[in-house]
């Protein structure tokens, strides 16, 4: 209906059909644009946003089948609902439309009552799909959302070599006690915004936020050329952003915040864990535990960024590191070498 503000595209090479269908849709309260063949329709679909395509099959230049084929191959257009309006002869042709992803088929001349029902149903389906995508985006990262859209959701994971990062705010409990809960929420929101920018800017994916801590993965679900370098660079960006944030905080008479970051690299299983109804994207593997321990160890070490041996090896000479010797972490049988990233002029936590 009118308040739905649906924007429809009619693709038909025949002027009478185009005008009549356009009229019927306007009577139903929709806004309508027209394309006189498949090629023009695809150009318009790629340029402007539409809620639904009404597609004729017999068209010059690009016919309806070719339009459907190109839409399936295009991630941006794959989910756009299509109602085929045609006077195609033969059930096999109709079946072919549906197989190619058309939601529905209306034979011409189009019955106005059926038209209304099919359009409303398609738009409703699209609305639900969009809503779902929105929700997924809010509660998962866009990379995870993309991965889910492309490969579907399935519990279980795949083996990858990735770099894991843990980060949290040092002395957070004391900080919380010194300010109102509203101030804490505001601080956390700013903090997460800055950290997300730094991490996603280097191709990483934040997959967990707990209190003042976060976990990020570099190399899954999206493969990266240089997991380790990206993670280390992201860590440096994070520290730099926090320093800038602190300048502002101190100017406002608030205490500065400090973060600790632990990074480790190794083989892990990345995928969805949980249940069919409630799951999260995460990584399981020794590197995850090591990264978490490294992050906790930044406090004792007095250095903001700590790395494990595998990460150090991969980044080579690109960053200056101090070997802090081997440390036996809680829950670990053997000692692990720990390296601290040097930051000129800012070595102290």
């Amino acid at each position: 209906m009118a308040d739905s503000g649906a924007r429809l595209l009619v693709a038909d090479d025949n002027k009478v059909n185009r005008l009549l269908l356009g009229r019927s849709l306007e009577v139903l309260g929709h806004r309508v644009a027209m394309a006189e063949n498949g090629r023009v329709a695809l150009e318009m679909l790629r340029r402007e946003r539409f809620d639904l395509l009404l597609l004729d099959m017999e068209m010059p230049e690009l016919d309806g089948f070719q339009v459907l084929e190109q839409m399936v191959a295009d991630a941006q257009l794959r989910d756009l609902p299509v109602i085929v309006t045609s006077s195609l002869e033969g059930v096999s042709n109709v079946a072919r439309c549906i197989e190619l992803g058309a939601d529905d088929y209306l034979s011409k001349p189009v019955n106005p009552v059926l038209l209304k029902a099919r359009i409303n149903s398609s738009l409703e389906k699209k609305r639900l799909r969009d809503q779902q995508k929105e929700l997924v985006k809010r509660f998962a990262t866009s990379e995870v959302a993309q991965d889910m859209q492309e490969s579907g959701f399935a519990l279980g994971g795949k083996r990858v070599t990735g770099t894991v990062m843990f980060s949290d705010i040092r002395g957070f409990t004391t900080l919380v006690e010194s300010q109102t809960p509203e101030e804490t929420i505001e601080l956390l929101n700013t903090y997460y915004t800055l950290m997300f920018d730094a991490i996603s800017g280097r191709g990483g994916v934040v997959n967990q936020m707990v209190g003042d801590g976060l976990m990020a993965i570099f190399g899954a679900p999206k493969e990266l050329d240089d997991n380790c370098g990206s993670a280390v660079q992201a860590a440096l960006d994070m520290i730099e952003l926090i320093d800038l944030f602190n300048v502002q905080r101190v100017a406002e008479g608030r205490p500065p915040v400090h973060i600790g970051i632990g990074i480790a690299t190794g083989d892990m299983v990345a995928g969805y864990t949980g249940t069919q109804t409630r799951a999260t994207y995460t990584c399981i593997g020794d590197a995850v535990n090591v990264a978490a321990r490294m992050e906790a160890h930044t406090k004792q070490a007095g250095r903001p960024i700590l790395l494990d041996g595998a990460t150090r090896e991969a980044i080579g000479e690109r960053f200056v590191l101090d070997a802090l010797g081997e440390v036996v972490f809680k829950g670990k049988a053997t000692a692990v070498p720990v390296f601290a990233l040097q930051m000129p002029g800012r070595d102290k936590l």
């Binding site: 025949n14 002027k15 009478v16 009577v27 017999e58 006077s87 002869e89 011409k108 001349p109 106005p112």
Partner: protein, 111 residues
Amino acid sequence: MADTVIDPAIFAELQEAAGADFVGELIATFLEEAPQMLAELRAAQAAGSADRFRRAAHSIKSNANTFGALRLGEMARVLELGGLITDTAPIAALDAEYARAAAALQELSGG
């Protein structure tokens, strides 16, 4: 098969759904476009292009049925399904039926 050139029930339904004024405009558009479709059908036959022939017959069929010109629609449908032919008689018959349908539509939109 309808005896009348334009099926009155289908035409009335069209007017009710789209509005009589709009149907008047639609008829004017059809009378402008149809001669080109018929010309395309003959040109496709002369050029031996089965695709163009089928598409032109398909368009005529589709529009004829919209207005309730069922006999015209059926004749066009036979051509669409039959594929390219060399015989020009069916096309001449289609022309004649179109002339009758056009006259009837003109009268309906004028009245």
